[in-house]
Protein backbone atom coordinates (compact mmCIF):
# COMPACT_ATOMS: atom_id res chain seq x y z
CA UNK A 1 0.00 0.00 0.00
CA UNK A 2 2.84 2.38 0.84
CA UNK A 3 4.26 1.56 -2.57
CA UNK A 4 0.92 2.32 -4.18
CA UNK A 5 0.56 5.67 -2.45
CA UNK A 6 4.16 6.55 -3.28
CA UNK A 7 3.54 5.70 -6.94
CA UNK A 8 0.41 7.80 -7.11
CA UNK A 9 2.24 10.71 -5.51
CA UNK A 10 5.10 10.49 -8.00
CA UNK A 11 2.49 10.11 -10.74
CA UNK A 12 0.88 13.37 -9.63
CA UNK A 13 4.25 15.12 -9.56
CA UNK A 14 5.00 13.81 -13.05
CA UNK A 15 1.54 14.97 -14.16
CA UNK A 16 3.08 18.45 -14.29
CA UNK A 17 5.54 17.04 -16.81
CA UNK A 18 2.64 15.53 -18.75
CA UNK A 19 0.88 18.91 -18.80
CA UNK A 20 4.04 20.53 -20.13
CA UNK A 21 4.38 17.95 -22.88
CA UNK A 22 0.65 18.31 -23.60
CA UNK A 23 1.14 22.04 -24.20
CA UNK A 24 4.12 21.73 -26.53
CA UNK A 25 3.23 18.49 -28.28
CA UNK A 26 -0.56 18.70 -28.54
CA UNK A 27 -1.43 22.39 -28.40
CA UNK A 28 1.49 23.66 -30.47
CA UNK A 29 2.36 20.48 -32.34
CA UNK A 30 5.95 21.28 -31.38
CA UNK A 31 8.04 18.16 -30.59
CA UNK A 32 10.00 19.81 -27.82
CA UNK A 33 12.86 17.77 -26.45
CA UNK A 34 14.04 20.69 -24.28
CA UNK A 35 11.93 18.84 -21.69
CA UNK A 36 14.83 16.50 -20.90
CA UNK A 37 17.07 19.44 -20.02
CA UNK A 38 14.52 21.64 -18.32
CA UNK A 39 13.27 18.81 -16.08
CA UNK A 40 16.77 18.45 -14.65
CA UNK A 41 17.23 22.22 -14.71
CA UNK A 42 14.25 22.65 -12.42
CA UNK A 43 15.57 19.98 -10.06
CA UNK A 44 19.07 21.46 -10.11
CA UNK A 45 17.91 25.00 -9.38
CA UNK A 46 15.68 23.95 -6.50
CA UNK A 47 18.25 21.59 -4.98
CA UNK A 48 21.08 24.14 -5.06
CA UNK A 49 18.90 26.92 -3.68
CA UNK A 50 17.55 24.72 -0.89
CA UNK A 51 21.06 23.61 0.04
CA UNK A 52 22.01 27.30 0.08
CA UNK A 53 19.28 27.83 2.64
CA UNK A 54 16.66 29.50 0.48
CA UNK A 55 12.99 29.04 1.32
CA UNK A 56 11.61 25.96 -0.52
CA UNK A 57 8.67 27.87 -2.01
CA UNK A 58 11.04 30.45 -3.49
CA UNK A 59 13.35 27.66 -4.67
CA UNK A 60 10.42 25.93 -6.40
CA UNK A 61 9.26 29.16 -8.04
CA UNK A 62 12.81 29.79 -9.27
CA UNK A 63 12.74 26.36 -10.92
CA UNK A 64 9.57 27.40 -12.74
CA UNK A 65 11.27 30.61 -13.87
CA UNK A 66 14.30 28.62 -15.05
CA UNK A 67 12.03 26.38 -17.10
CA UNK A 68 10.38 29.43 -18.65
CA UNK A 69 13.81 30.71 -19.70
CA UNK A 70 14.89 27.38 -21.16
CA UNK A 71 11.65 27.11 -23.14
CA UNK A 72 11.87 30.69 -24.34
CA UNK A 73 15.42 29.96 -25.57
CA UNK A 74 14.16 27.01 -27.62
CA UNK A 75 11.24 29.06 -28.94
CA UNK A 76 13.51 31.95 -29.93
CA UNK A 77 16.03 29.67 -31.65
CA UNK A 78 13.17 28.17 -33.63
CA UNK A 79 11.31 31.38 -34.55
CA UNK A 80 14.18 33.87 -34.90
CA UNK A 81 16.68 31.67 -36.69
CA UNK A 82 14.22 29.37 -38.46
CA UNK A 83 15.79 26.24 -37.02
CA UNK A 84 13.62 23.14 -37.00
CA UNK A 85 11.77 22.60 -33.71
CA UNK A 86 13.41 19.29 -32.86
CA UNK A 87 16.91 20.63 -33.48
CA UNK A 88 16.20 23.80 -31.48
CA UNK A 89 15.19 21.61 -28.57
CA UNK A 90 18.24 19.39 -28.91
CA UNK A 91 20.54 22.44 -28.86
CA UNK A 92 19.02 23.82 -25.67
CA UNK A 93 18.84 20.37 -24.05
CA UNK A 94 22.52 19.77 -24.74
CA UNK A 95 23.50 23.21 -23.50
CA UNK A 96 21.45 22.69 -20.35
CA UNK A 97 23.46 19.58 -19.46
CA UNK A 98 26.49 21.78 -18.80
CA UNK A 99 24.37 24.47 -17.20
CA UNK A 100 22.89 21.89 -14.83
CA UNK A 101 26.33 20.64 -13.78
CA UNK A 102 27.37 24.23 -13.08
CA UNK A 103 24.20 24.95 -11.11
CA UNK A 104 24.65 21.85 -8.94
CA UNK A 105 28.44 21.97 -8.84
CA UNK A 106 28.49 18.16 -9.02
CA UNK A 107 26.38 15.47 -10.65
CA UNK A 108 24.21 14.73 -7.61
CA UNK A 109 22.87 16.93 -4.83
CA UNK A 110 21.25 15.14 -1.85
CA UNK A 111 18.41 16.89 -0.06
CA UNK A 112 17.67 14.35 2.64
CA UNK A 113 18.39 16.52 5.66
CA UNK A 114 17.17 19.72 4.02
CA UNK A 115 13.97 21.63 4.44
CA UNK A 116 11.78 21.04 1.36
CA UNK A 117 8.13 21.58 0.48
CA UNK A 118 7.50 18.01 1.63
CA UNK A 119 9.17 18.49 5.01
CA UNK A 120 6.68 21.29 5.54
CA UNK A 121 3.85 18.92 4.73
CA UNK A 122 5.37 16.41 7.18
CA UNK A 123 5.57 19.07 9.88
CA UNK A 124 1.95 19.87 9.20
CA UNK A 125 1.05 16.19 9.48
CA UNK A 126 2.87 15.90 12.82
CA UNK A 127 1.09 18.99 14.10
CA UNK A 128 -2.30 17.62 13.09
CA UNK A 129 -2.10 13.94 13.91
CA UNK A 130 1.11 13.46 15.84
CA UNK A 131 4.46 11.88 15.03
CA UNK A 132 4.51 8.51 13.22
CA UNK A 133 0.71 8.37 13.14
CA UNK A 134 -0.64 5.42 11.23
CA UNK A 135 -4.06 4.96 9.76
CA UNK A 136 -5.65 2.15 7.85
CA UNK A 137 -6.69 2.40 4.23
CA UNK A 138 -8.70 -0.57 2.92
CA UNK A 139 -7.20 -2.72 5.66
CA UNK A 140 -3.56 -1.72 5.08
CA UNK A 141 -1.82 0.45 7.59
CA UNK A 142 -0.38 3.58 6.08
CA UNK A 143 1.63 6.45 7.60
CA UNK A 144 -0.64 9.51 7.80
CA UNK A 145 2.13 11.76 6.53
CA UNK A 146 2.17 9.88 3.19
CA UNK A 147 -1.53 10.58 2.81
CA UNK A 148 -1.00 14.28 3.52
CA UNK A 149 1.76 14.40 0.91
CA UNK A 150 -0.53 12.69 -1.56
CA UNK A 151 -3.29 15.18 -0.82
CA UNK A 152 -0.86 18.07 -1.14
CA UNK A 153 0.25 16.88 -4.59
CA UNK A 154 -3.34 16.28 -5.63
CA UNK A 155 -4.44 19.79 -4.64
CA UNK A 156 -1.44 21.26 -6.38
CA UNK A 157 -2.05 19.45 -9.67
CA UNK A 158 -5.78 20.24 -9.62
CA UNK A 159 -4.93 23.88 -9.07
CA UNK A 160 -2.43 23.96 -11.93
CA UNK A 161 -4.85 22.15 -14.24
CA UNK A 162 -7.57 24.67 -13.50
CA UNK A 163 -5.21 27.59 -14.09
CA UNK A 164 -4.17 26.04 -17.38
CA UNK A 165 -7.77 25.43 -18.40
CA UNK A 166 -8.70 28.99 -17.54
CA UNK A 167 -5.69 30.36 -19.41
CA UNK A 168 -6.45 28.46 -22.60
CA UNK A 169 -9.97 29.86 -22.59
CA UNK A 170 -8.88 33.50 -22.36
CA UNK A 171 -8.44 35.60 -25.49
CA UNK A 172 -4.69 35.14 -25.54
CA UNK A 173 -4.92 31.44 -24.69
CA UNK A 174 -7.44 30.84 -27.48
CA UNK A 175 -5.08 32.61 -29.87
CA UNK A 176 -2.32 30.27 -28.68
CA UNK A 177 -4.38 27.18 -29.39
CA UNK A 178 -5.24 28.57 -32.82
CA UNK A 179 -1.50 29.05 -33.48
CA UNK A 180 -1.01 25.31 -33.12
CA UNK A 181 -4.18 24.51 -35.04
CA UNK A 182 -3.82 26.83 -38.05
CA UNK A 183 -1.06 29.42 -37.94
CA UNK A 184 -1.92 30.98 -41.30
CA UNK A 185 -5.45 31.73 -40.13
CA UNK A 186 -4.47 33.27 -36.84
CA UNK A 187 -1.77 35.44 -38.47
CA UNK A 188 -4.45 36.75 -40.82
CA UNK A 189 -6.40 37.67 -37.68
CA UNK A 190 -3.52 39.74 -36.37
CA UNK A 191 -1.67 37.43 -34.01
CA UNK A 192 2.12 37.30 -34.00
CA UNK A 193 2.52 33.53 -34.11
CA UNK A 194 6.24 33.70 -33.28
CA UNK A 195 5.50 35.40 -29.98
CA UNK A 196 2.83 32.78 -29.25
CA UNK A 197 5.24 29.90 -29.92
CA UNK A 198 7.99 31.37 -27.72
CA UNK A 199 5.48 32.06 -24.97
CA UNK A 200 3.85 28.62 -25.25
CA UNK A 201 7.08 26.63 -25.27
CA UNK A 202 8.24 28.71 -22.31
CA UNK A 203 5.12 27.85 -20.28
CA UNK A 204 5.45 24.21 -21.27
CA UNK A 205 9.00 24.07 -19.97
CA UNK A 206 8.06 26.03 -16.89
CA UNK A 207 5.67 23.21 -15.97
CA UNK A 208 8.29 20.58 -16.79
CA UNK A 209 10.92 22.28 -14.62
CA UNK A 210 8.38 22.53 -11.83
CA UNK A 211 7.83 18.79 -12.13
CA UNK A 212 11.58 18.17 -11.90
CA UNK A 213 11.81 20.46 -8.90
CA UNK A 214 9.00 18.67 -7.05
CA UNK A 215 10.40 15.24 -7.89
CA UNK A 216 13.82 16.23 -6.55
CA UNK A 217 12.22 17.37 -3.31
CA UNK A 218 10.08 14.24 -3.04
CA UNK A 219 12.82 11.72 -3.69
CA UNK A 220 15.39 13.74 -1.76
CA UNK A 221 18.03 14.41 -4.42
CA UNK A 222 18.66 16.03 -7.76
CA UNK A 223 20.68 14.16 -10.32
CA UNK A 224 22.08 15.42 -13.61
CA UNK A 225 20.74 12.30 -15.36
CA UNK A 226 17.19 12.50 -14.08
CA UNK A 227 15.78 14.19 -17.20
CA UNK A 228 16.77 11.44 -19.61
CA UNK A 229 13.76 9.90 -21.32
CA UNK A 230 11.36 12.32 -19.66
CA UNK A 231 9.92 13.61 -22.93
CA UNK A 232 8.85 10.15 -24.00
CA UNK A 233 7.61 9.50 -20.47
CA UNK A 234 5.42 12.61 -20.68
CA UNK A 235 4.27 11.64 -24.13
CA UNK A 236 3.26 8.19 -22.90
CA UNK A 237 1.18 9.83 -20.17
CA UNK A 238 -0.53 12.18 -22.63
CA UNK A 239 -1.28 9.32 -25.02
CA UNK A 240 -2.75 7.12 -22.28
CA UNK A 241 -4.89 10.06 -21.22
CA UNK A 242 -6.17 10.60 -24.74
CA UNK A 243 -6.99 6.92 -25.15
CA UNK A 244 -8.97 7.00 -21.89
CA UNK A 245 -10.83 10.22 -22.58
CA UNK A 246 -11.38 9.83 -26.32
CA UNK A 247 -12.81 13.35 -26.53
CA UNK A 248 -11.48 16.58 -27.99
CA UNK A 249 -12.72 18.87 -25.21
CA UNK A 250 -9.90 20.90 -23.68
CA UNK A 251 -10.82 20.35 -20.04
CA UNK A 252 -11.07 16.60 -20.55
CA UNK A 253 -7.76 16.49 -22.40
CA UNK A 254 -6.03 18.24 -19.51
CA UNK A 255 -7.67 15.88 -17.02
CA UNK A 256 -6.66 13.01 -19.29
CA UNK A 257 -3.00 14.03 -19.24
CA UNK A 258 -3.03 14.07 -15.43
CA UNK A 259 -4.82 10.74 -15.12
CA UNK A 260 -2.54 9.28 -17.80
CA UNK A 261 0.54 10.34 -15.86
CA UNK A 262 -0.67 8.68 -12.67
CA UNK A 263 -1.76 5.54 -14.48
CA UNK A 264 1.50 5.23 -16.36
CA UNK A 265 3.49 5.59 -13.16
CA UNK A 266 1.34 2.87 -11.57
CA UNK A 267 1.86 0.56 -14.54
CA UNK A 268 5.60 1.05 -14.29
CA UNK A 269 5.58 0.43 -10.54
CA UNK A 270 3.60 -2.78 -11.01
CA UNK A 271 5.90 -3.95 -13.78
CA UNK A 272 8.96 -3.27 -11.63
CA UNK A 273 7.33 -5.08 -8.73
CA UNK A 274 6.76 -8.09 -10.93
CA UNK A 275 10.45 -8.22 -11.58
CA UNK A 276 10.94 -6.19 -14.73
CA UNK A 277 14.58 -5.23 -15.08
CA UNK A 278 14.74 -1.47 -14.36
CA UNK A 279 17.31 -1.19 -17.15
CA UNK A 280 14.61 -2.13 -19.64
CA UNK A 281 12.29 0.66 -18.47
CA UNK A 282 13.17 3.22 -21.13
CA UNK A 283 13.18 0.61 -23.91
CA UNK A 284 9.70 -0.48 -22.93
CA UNK A 285 8.46 3.11 -22.57
CA UNK A 286 9.73 3.98 -26.03
CA UNK A 287 8.17 0.84 -27.52
CA UNK A 288 4.91 1.68 -25.82
CA UNK A 289 4.83 5.20 -27.28
CA UNK A 290 5.79 3.85 -30.69
CA UNK A 291 2.92 1.40 -30.64
CA UNK A 292 0.49 4.02 -29.35
CA UNK A 293 1.44 6.30 -32.23
CA UNK A 294 1.30 3.61 -34.91
CA UNK A 295 -1.56 1.35 -33.85
CA UNK A 296 -4.53 3.70 -34.47
CA UNK A 297 -3.52 4.22 -38.11
CA UNK A 298 -2.79 0.52 -38.52
CA UNK A 299 -6.17 -0.47 -37.09
CA UNK A 300 -7.99 1.90 -39.46
CA UNK A 301 -6.17 0.34 -42.39
CA UNK A 302 -7.11 -3.22 -41.48
CA UNK A 303 -10.68 -2.08 -40.90
CA UNK A 304 -10.82 -0.59 -44.39
CA UNK A 305 -9.33 -3.74 -45.93
CA UNK A 306 -11.95 -5.81 -44.18
CA UNK A 307 -14.69 -3.50 -45.44
CA UNK A 308 -13.39 -3.83 -49.00
CA UNK A 309 -13.45 -7.60 -48.76
Amino acid sequence: MTLLIGSITIGLVLALLALGIFISFRIFDFPDITAEGSFTFGAAITASLIVAGINPVAATLMAFAGGLLAGAATGLIHTRFKINPLLSGILVMTALYSVNLHVMGKSNVPLLSQLTLFTWVEHFSIAVSGKDAITSVLGWSVPVKDLWILLFCLIMIVLFSLVLLWFFRTNIGTAMRATGDNDQMIRALGVNTNVMIVFGVAISNGFIALSGSMLAQFQGFADVQMGIGMMVWGLASVIIGEALINEKKLGLLIAGAVIGAVLFRLLVAIALRWGMNPNDLKLITATFVFLALVLPGFMNKTKKIRLVK
Partner: protein
Protein backbone atom coordinates in the same frame (compact mmCIF):
# COMPACT_ATOMS: atom_id res chain seq x y z
CA UNK B 1 -7.79 53.86 -50.19
CA UNK B 2 -5.17 51.43 -51.48
CA UNK B 3 -2.17 52.83 -53.33
CA UNK B 4 0.27 50.33 -54.79
CA UNK B 5 3.21 51.78 -56.65
CA UNK B 6 6.00 50.11 -58.60
CA UNK B 7 5.74 46.87 -56.69
CA UNK B 8 8.34 44.24 -57.65
CA UNK B 9 8.85 40.73 -56.39
CA UNK B 10 11.15 38.02 -57.72
CA UNK B 11 11.09 34.54 -56.23
CA UNK B 12 14.06 32.15 -56.11
CA UNK B 13 16.54 34.87 -57.02
CA UNK B 14 19.69 33.56 -58.67
CA UNK B 15 18.39 30.05 -59.28
CA UNK B 16 17.13 28.36 -62.41
CA UNK B 17 13.61 28.75 -61.04
CA UNK B 18 13.79 32.53 -60.83
CA UNK B 19 10.31 33.99 -61.40
CA UNK B 20 9.56 37.68 -61.66
CA UNK B 21 6.08 37.47 -60.16
CA UNK B 22 5.43 41.18 -59.91
CA UNK B 23 7.01 43.66 -62.30
CA UNK B 24 6.46 47.30 -61.45
CA UNK B 25 2.84 46.85 -60.56
CA UNK B 26 1.02 50.08 -59.77
CA UNK B 27 -2.61 50.17 -58.81
CA UNK B 28 -4.86 52.58 -57.05
CA UNK B 29 -8.20 51.55 -55.60
CA UNK B 30 -10.82 53.99 -54.37
CA UNK B 31 -12.73 53.66 -51.16
CA UNK B 32 -15.68 51.28 -51.50
CA UNK B 33 -14.78 49.85 -54.88
CA UNK B 34 -14.89 46.13 -55.64
CA UNK B 35 -12.06 45.06 -57.92
CA UNK B 36 -11.84 41.65 -59.63
CA UNK B 37 -8.39 40.46 -60.60
CA UNK B 38 -8.21 38.03 -63.52
CA UNK B 39 -5.17 36.37 -65.01
CA UNK B 40 -3.62 33.21 -66.38
CA UNK B 41 -1.89 30.72 -64.10
CA UNK B 42 1.31 32.24 -62.79
CA UNK B 43 0.30 35.71 -63.87
CA UNK B 44 0.99 37.09 -60.42
CA UNK B 45 -2.58 37.74 -59.33
CA UNK B 46 -2.35 35.75 -56.11
CA UNK B 47 1.16 37.11 -55.57
CA UNK B 48 -0.25 40.62 -55.74
CA UNK B 49 -2.86 39.77 -53.14
CA UNK B 50 -0.33 38.11 -50.86
CA UNK B 51 2.01 41.08 -51.23
CA UNK B 52 -0.75 43.35 -49.96
CA UNK B 53 -1.60 40.88 -47.17
CA UNK B 54 2.05 40.71 -46.15
CA UNK B 55 2.66 36.98 -46.63
CA UNK B 56 6.10 38.07 -47.88
CA UNK B 57 7.91 41.39 -48.16
CA UNK B 58 8.34 42.86 -51.64
CA UNK B 59 11.69 43.69 -53.25
CA UNK B 60 10.79 47.28 -54.08
CA UNK B 61 7.84 49.60 -54.41
CA UNK B 62 5.35 50.72 -51.80
CA UNK B 63 1.91 49.84 -50.50
CA UNK B 64 -0.15 52.52 -48.80
CA UNK B 65 -3.45 51.56 -47.22
CA UNK B 66 -5.73 54.26 -45.86
CA UNK B 67 -2.86 56.71 -45.57
CA UNK B 68 -0.55 54.28 -43.78
CA UNK B 69 2.57 52.97 -45.45
CA UNK B 70 2.39 49.24 -44.74
CA UNK B 71 5.12 48.05 -47.12
CA UNK B 72 7.40 46.82 -44.33
CA UNK B 73 4.72 45.75 -41.87
CA UNK B 74 4.65 42.07 -40.91
CA UNK B 75 1.59 40.05 -41.86
CA UNK B 76 0.00 40.03 -38.40
CA UNK B 77 0.27 43.79 -38.06
CA UNK B 78 -1.52 44.38 -41.36
CA UNK B 79 -4.38 42.21 -40.15
CA UNK B 80 -5.75 45.14 -38.14
CA UNK B 81 -6.74 46.71 -41.47
CA UNK B 82 -7.17 43.74 -43.77
CA UNK B 83 -9.69 40.90 -43.80
CA UNK B 84 -8.83 37.79 -45.81
CA UNK B 85 -10.48 34.71 -47.28
CA UNK B 86 -8.21 32.06 -48.76
CA UNK B 87 -8.58 29.73 -51.71
CA UNK B 88 -8.32 26.63 -49.55
CA UNK B 89 -11.37 26.36 -47.27
CA UNK B 90 -9.10 24.76 -44.65
CA UNK B 91 -6.84 27.81 -44.46
CA UNK B 92 -9.24 30.32 -42.98
CA UNK B 93 -10.43 28.47 -39.90
CA UNK B 94 -8.86 26.46 -37.06
CA UNK B 95 -10.27 22.93 -37.56
CA UNK B 96 -9.84 21.68 -33.99
CA UNK B 97 -11.65 24.61 -32.42
CA UNK B 98 -15.38 25.17 -32.25
CA UNK B 99 -17.35 27.49 -34.51
CA UNK B 100 -17.88 29.82 -31.57
CA UNK B 101 -14.17 29.95 -30.70
CA UNK B 102 -13.18 30.64 -34.30
CA UNK B 103 -15.63 33.50 -34.53
CA UNK B 104 -14.54 34.88 -31.18
CA UNK B 105 -10.96 34.92 -32.49
CA UNK B 106 -12.14 36.92 -35.49
CA UNK B 107 -14.05 39.34 -33.26
CA UNK B 108 -10.61 40.45 -32.00
CA UNK B 109 -8.87 40.73 -35.37
CA UNK B 110 -5.89 43.03 -35.06
CA UNK B 111 -6.78 44.01 -31.50
CA UNK B 112 -4.99 43.40 -28.25
CA UNK B 113 -5.74 39.98 -26.76
CA UNK B 114 -5.45 39.86 -23.02
CA UNK B 115 -6.46 37.60 -20.20
CA UNK B 116 -10.14 38.36 -20.63
CA UNK B 117 -12.48 35.39 -21.07
CA UNK B 118 -12.75 34.49 -24.77
CA UNK B 119 -16.38 33.41 -25.08
CA UNK B 120 -18.27 35.89 -22.96
CA UNK B 121 -22.07 35.87 -22.95
CA UNK B 122 -22.22 39.04 -25.05
CA UNK B 123 -19.85 37.61 -27.68
CA UNK B 124 -21.90 34.38 -27.71
CA UNK B 125 -25.21 36.13 -28.35
CA UNK B 126 -23.67 38.40 -30.97
CA UNK B 127 -22.11 35.53 -32.86
CA UNK B 128 -25.27 33.50 -32.70
CA UNK B 129 -27.22 36.23 -34.46
CA UNK B 130 -24.44 36.70 -37.02
CA UNK B 131 -24.26 32.99 -37.83
CA UNK B 132 -28.04 32.86 -38.18
CA UNK B 133 -27.79 35.23 -41.14
CA UNK B 134 -25.90 32.53 -43.06
CA UNK B 135 -29.05 30.42 -43.03
CA UNK B 136 -27.10 27.17 -42.72
CA UNK B 137 -28.43 26.06 -39.36
CA UNK B 138 -24.97 26.53 -37.87
CA UNK B 139 -26.27 28.67 -35.00
CA UNK B 140 -27.42 25.44 -33.33
CA UNK B 141 -23.99 23.85 -33.70
CA UNK B 142 -21.73 26.54 -32.28
CA UNK B 143 -19.84 23.97 -30.18
CA UNK B 144 -19.03 21.77 -33.19
CA UNK B 145 -15.37 21.75 -34.23
CA UNK B 146 -15.08 23.60 -37.54
CA UNK B 147 -13.14 20.68 -39.03
CA UNK B 148 -16.40 18.72 -39.17
CA UNK B 149 -18.06 21.22 -41.53
CA UNK B 150 -18.08 21.16 -45.33
CA UNK B 151 -15.81 23.38 -47.42
CA UNK B 152 -18.68 25.68 -48.32
CA UNK B 153 -19.74 26.13 -44.71
CA UNK B 154 -16.15 26.83 -43.68
CA UNK B 155 -15.72 29.36 -46.46
CA UNK B 156 -18.98 31.11 -45.50
CA UNK B 157 -17.78 31.31 -41.89
CA UNK B 158 -14.39 32.62 -43.00
CA UNK B 159 -16.18 35.38 -44.93
CA UNK B 160 -18.15 36.23 -41.84
CA UNK B 161 -14.96 36.23 -39.76
CA UNK B 162 -12.98 38.42 -42.15
CA UNK B 163 -15.70 41.07 -42.14
CA UNK B 164 -16.73 40.89 -38.47
CA UNK B 165 -14.74 44.01 -37.65
CA UNK B 166 -15.10 46.17 -40.74
CA UNK B 167 -11.78 45.85 -42.61
CA UNK B 168 -10.34 48.76 -44.59
CA UNK B 169 -9.65 46.21 -47.30
CA UNK B 170 -11.11 42.77 -47.94
CA UNK B 171 -8.88 40.32 -49.84
CA UNK B 172 -10.55 37.33 -51.47
CA UNK B 173 -8.11 34.87 -53.02
CA UNK B 174 -10.09 32.62 -55.39
CA UNK B 175 -12.24 31.79 -52.42
CA UNK B 176 -14.73 29.71 -54.43
CA UNK B 177 -12.21 27.81 -56.57
CA UNK B 178 -12.21 24.73 -54.35
CA UNK B 179 -16.00 24.49 -54.06
CA UNK B 180 -18.58 22.72 -56.21
CA UNK B 181 -20.54 25.05 -58.56
CA UNK B 182 -23.68 25.17 -56.42
CA UNK B 183 -21.83 25.93 -53.18
CA UNK B 184 -19.61 28.39 -55.03
CA UNK B 185 -22.59 30.40 -56.21
CA UNK B 186 -23.97 30.46 -52.66
CA UNK B 187 -20.67 31.76 -51.31
CA UNK B 188 -20.52 34.37 -54.07
CA UNK B 189 -24.04 35.48 -53.18
CA UNK B 190 -22.95 35.85 -49.56
CA UNK B 191 -19.81 37.71 -50.64
CA UNK B 192 -21.91 40.20 -52.57
CA UNK B 193 -24.23 40.71 -49.64
CA UNK B 194 -21.44 41.24 -47.12
CA UNK B 195 -19.47 43.57 -49.40
CA UNK B 196 -22.54 45.64 -50.27
CA UNK B 197 -23.82 45.85 -46.72
CA UNK B 198 -20.50 46.98 -45.30
CA UNK B 199 -19.55 49.01 -48.42
CA UNK B 200 -16.23 47.19 -48.19
CA UNK B 201 -13.27 47.99 -50.40
CA UNK B 202 -12.58 44.61 -51.95
CA UNK B 203 -9.86 43.00 -54.03
CA UNK B 204 -10.96 39.62 -55.36
CA UNK B 205 -8.80 37.23 -57.33
CA UNK B 206 -10.80 34.80 -59.43
CA UNK B 207 -10.44 32.70 -62.50
CA UNK B 208 -14.11 32.59 -63.18
CA UNK B 209 -14.72 35.21 -65.86
CA UNK B 210 -18.42 34.98 -65.18
CA UNK B 211 -17.82 36.08 -61.57
CA UNK B 212 -15.64 38.95 -62.75
CA UNK B 213 -18.32 40.10 -65.17
CA UNK B 214 -21.17 39.82 -62.66
CA UNK B 215 -19.42 41.24 -59.62
CA UNK B 216 -17.75 44.46 -58.74
CA UNK B 217 -17.13 47.70 -60.54
CA UNK B 218 -13.67 47.11 -61.95
CA UNK B 219 -11.72 44.32 -63.67
CA UNK B 220 -7.95 44.05 -63.78
CA UNK B 221 -6.24 41.51 -66.02
CA UNK B 222 -2.74 40.42 -65.13
CA UNK B 223 -0.21 38.57 -67.24
CA UNK B 224 3.42 37.70 -66.49
CA UNK B 225 3.54 39.85 -63.41
CA UNK B 226 2.12 42.98 -65.01
CA UNK B 227 -1.30 44.59 -65.18
CA UNK B 228 -2.26 44.41 -68.87
CA UNK B 229 -5.84 45.68 -68.82
CA UNK B 230 -7.88 47.76 -66.43
CA UNK B 231 -11.60 48.22 -67.05
CA UNK B 232 -13.85 50.35 -64.91
CA UNK B 233 -17.11 52.26 -64.94
CA UNK B 234 -19.26 51.96 -68.08
CA UNK B 235 -16.52 50.05 -69.87
CA UNK B 236 -16.57 47.35 -67.18
CA UNK B 237 -20.38 47.17 -67.30
CA UNK B 238 -20.36 46.53 -71.05
CA UNK B 239 -17.73 43.80 -70.73
CA UNK B 240 -18.96 40.24 -71.33
CA UNK B 241 -17.29 36.86 -70.93
CA UNK B 242 -16.50 36.46 -74.68
CA UNK B 243 -14.69 39.81 -74.62
CA UNK B 244 -12.52 38.64 -71.77
CA UNK B 245 -11.83 35.33 -73.50
CA UNK B 246 -10.74 37.21 -76.59
CA UNK B 247 -8.35 39.29 -74.52
CA UNK B 248 -6.86 36.17 -72.96
CA UNK B 249 -6.38 34.66 -76.41
CA UNK B 250 -4.64 37.78 -77.54
CA UNK B 251 -2.26 37.66 -74.57
CA UNK B 252 -1.48 34.03 -75.27
CA UNK B 253 -0.85 34.69 -78.95
CA UNK B 254 1.57 37.44 -78.07
CA UNK B 255 3.37 34.97 -75.82
CA UNK B 256 3.80 32.51 -78.65
CA UNK B 257 5.03 35.14 -81.05
CA UNK B 258 7.52 36.69 -78.68
CA UNK B 259 10.22 33.98 -78.72
CA UNK B 260 9.92 33.66 -82.52
CA UNK B 261 10.31 37.38 -82.94
CA UNK B 262 13.27 37.36 -80.65
CA UNK B 263 14.91 34.68 -82.78
CA UNK B 264 14.21 36.68 -85.89
CA UNK B 265 15.77 39.77 -84.40
CA UNK B 266 18.78 37.75 -83.29
CA UNK B 267 19.33 36.57 -86.85
CA UNK B 268 18.94 40.11 -88.16
CA UNK B 269 21.33 41.80 -85.82
CA UNK B 270 23.87 39.27 -84.54
Amino acid sequence: MLEISNLCKTFNVGTINEVMSLQNVSLSIEDGSFVCVLGTNGSGKSTLLNAVAGTFLTDSGSIILKGKEITKWPEHKRASQIGRVFQNPFSGTAPGMSIAENLALAAKRGRKRGLGWGLTASVMSELKSKVKVLNMGLEERLETPIGKLSGGQRQALTLLMSSWLKPDLLLLDEHTAALDPKTASKVIELTERIVNQGKLTTLMVTHSMQQAVNLGDRIIMMHQGEIKYDFRGEEKKRLKVPDLLALFDELRRKDQIDPAVAELLMREYV
